[in-house]
């Protein structure tokens, strides 16, 4: 049985420059998600280059990329659950604008499960999501959006968080087709929830693949093209974070960031050199050098194939 030849789906493949220019607007709530791996540094840098302003940045773990973005002045507010340079230490640009009486960055703070639950409420179009966190803590005092809700079954009272609905969610993934059907393996984080919760979605990928690759293994798809507005092909776009199966974390970078981030002048110089000083990811990678990238490649650990069966 054959289908009538379909009108080819419009490709959503775009350059990073165009995707950010068209889909990220001053004042937006922007979520760049990816827990430890698949963090779209490439998109963050382009947002800095285009000098976006007044963004509310949402992310479970504002790490080095948000330190860079906040240092560059794109944000007015941060919505988060853990703030740090993972495995290394603090984020000094963010500390400078959040410590003391002159703090200029507005914070809205949850726990990890609270953030996940917020994205999930957004993805499910629910007015709230219930959870058992926050009992006997100061978090609901610090953040009045963490509220209680009484169960309609018995007396139990649990906490609730409100939906988070980013204007734009940006995720990095191993592969997608031109329509935006996106697959990830390894850590899944909250990318699916953050994408479904958003108004607009940008997917950045290591590889653009034919639709048939996606359709051969539909259980790996985390985001359908249906909700994707742009597909940006940017290999190594998650450097210095990692992409499972493609490259390791560039730990030297994370270690080096400690000193850069502590020193305002050094940080400015870094942004000038590595963000404003390059036109995009291709130049960034050329600057980084092949040798450094080669050192990040992992050995092979194939998943093996399963059979979906052909049913005609």
């Amino acid at each position: 049985m054959r289908y009538a030849p379909a009108v080819p789906q419009t490709s959503k493949v775009a350059t990073m420059r165009d995707a950010i220019a068209e889909l990220v607007r001053d004042g937006d709530t922007v979520a760049i998600e990816g827990f430890t791996h698949l963090i779209s540094f490439a998109a963050g840098h382009e947002i800095i280059r285009q000098r976006k302003r007044d963004l509310t940045l949402a992310r479970m773990t504002p790490d080095v990329i948000y330190d860079q973005m906040i240092a560059a002045g794109v944000a007015r507010k941060l919505v988060f659950s853990w703030l740090g340079n993972p495995g290394v230490g603090g984020l000094h640009a963010i500390r400078r604008v959040t410590e003391g009486v002159g703090a200029t960055l507005e914070l809205e703070e949850y726990s990890h499960f609270g953030m996940v639950a917020r994205y999930t409420a957004g993805a499910m179009n629910l007015p709230f999501f219930p959870l058992r966190s926050y009992f006997e803590t100061d978090l609901p005092v610090a953040n009045p959006l963490i509220r209680t809700v009484r169960s309609p079954y018995g007396d139990e009272t649990v906490y609730a968080v409100p939906p988070l609905r980013p204007d734009v969610t940006i995720i990095h993934a191993q592969r997608a087709d031109a329509a935006g059907d996106t697959q990830v393996w390894g850590l899944l984080g909250c990318q699916k929830e953050a994408a479904f919760a958003a108004e607009r979605v940008i997917v950045v990928v290591e590889e653009l693949v034919d639709e048939s690759v996606i359709r051969a293994d539909p259980n790996r798809t985390i985001v359908p093209g249906l909700i994707v507005d742009a597909v940006v092909v940017e290999p190594l776009g998650a450097h210095p974070s990692y992409a499972q199966g493609y490259y390791d974390r560039d730990n030297r970078f994370y270690l080096d960031w400690e000193a850069v981030s502590r020193d305002v002048a050094a940080l400015e110089a870094w942004l000038d050199e590595w963000v404003h000083g390059v036109s995009g990811r291709t130049e960034y990678l050329a600057k980084l050098g092949d040798a450094r990238v080669a050192g990040l490649r992992p050995g092979s650990a194939p998943s093996g194939s399963v059979d979906y069966g052909s049913y005609r």
Binding site: M1, Y3, A4, P5, A6, V7, Q9, T120, A123, M124, N125, L126, P127, D181, K192, E193, F196, E211, I214, R215, P218, N219, T221, P224, G225, L226, I227, Y308, G309, S310, Y311, R312
Partner: protein, 264 residues
Amino acid sequence: MNAAEVVTGAAFSRSEMMIVAAARELAEQRVCFVGVGLPNIAVNLAKRTVAPDLQLVYEAGVFDARPARLPLSIGDPTIVTGATAVTSMLELFGYYLQRGLIDVGFLGAAQIDRFGNINTTVIGDYRAPTTRLPGSGGACEIAINARQVFVIMRQSKRSFVERIDFRTSPGNLGGEDGERIRREQGWLGRGPSVVVTDLGVYHFDERGEMRLDSLHPGATLDAVRGAMAWEPRVAESLMETPGPTADELRLIRDELDPDGVYTS
């Protein structure tokens, strides 16, 4: 379609005409949530004719299925192999349907009233029914969350009733009152917008009431009135539904339902 291709006379059954008319309503639609039974064949016919890019969503957890045969049920393995995405049902109902990503929910029904309220639960009293029907399945939430709802069902005085025995899925609320309810409860959907039967095609007017817009070839207004429990509103410009094309009939008979399960 090309009128020259239209098959006339008794060369097709009433069920075939119903399925063809239902499939044609999907032209221009993008994402369709496929219900159990008749919707399954109508939507699969649409995918092969007027709406090749239609993305089929099955409540079993499948997005953008490309079934290589007519699925025996809405969980057939042929809807999985070659699909774009397979998800848990939590995500399918939560992230796709309740999130508002479904353009059309396509449902069948045992009973319907003039406002498109649907019963698929029981005939008779809920506690001691004369007929126990399947129940909601996903129909209740499809009716509430799909942007619009299409219904396909055979028409009779027992199925087109003044008052349904049980409201499984809400209808077209219509009017200002409906707008208010939707707003207060955060509904995304507009409710039923099309009902296709073996006699004709209905849409809904501004008050949310069903209106006969098209009569199938061979059907008459009297036949329609004889197969429903209320006096129907009829469009001023009542049309005749163009009959099935040879291609539509071939697809139904040779590919989609060679055993005549849906069309007998």
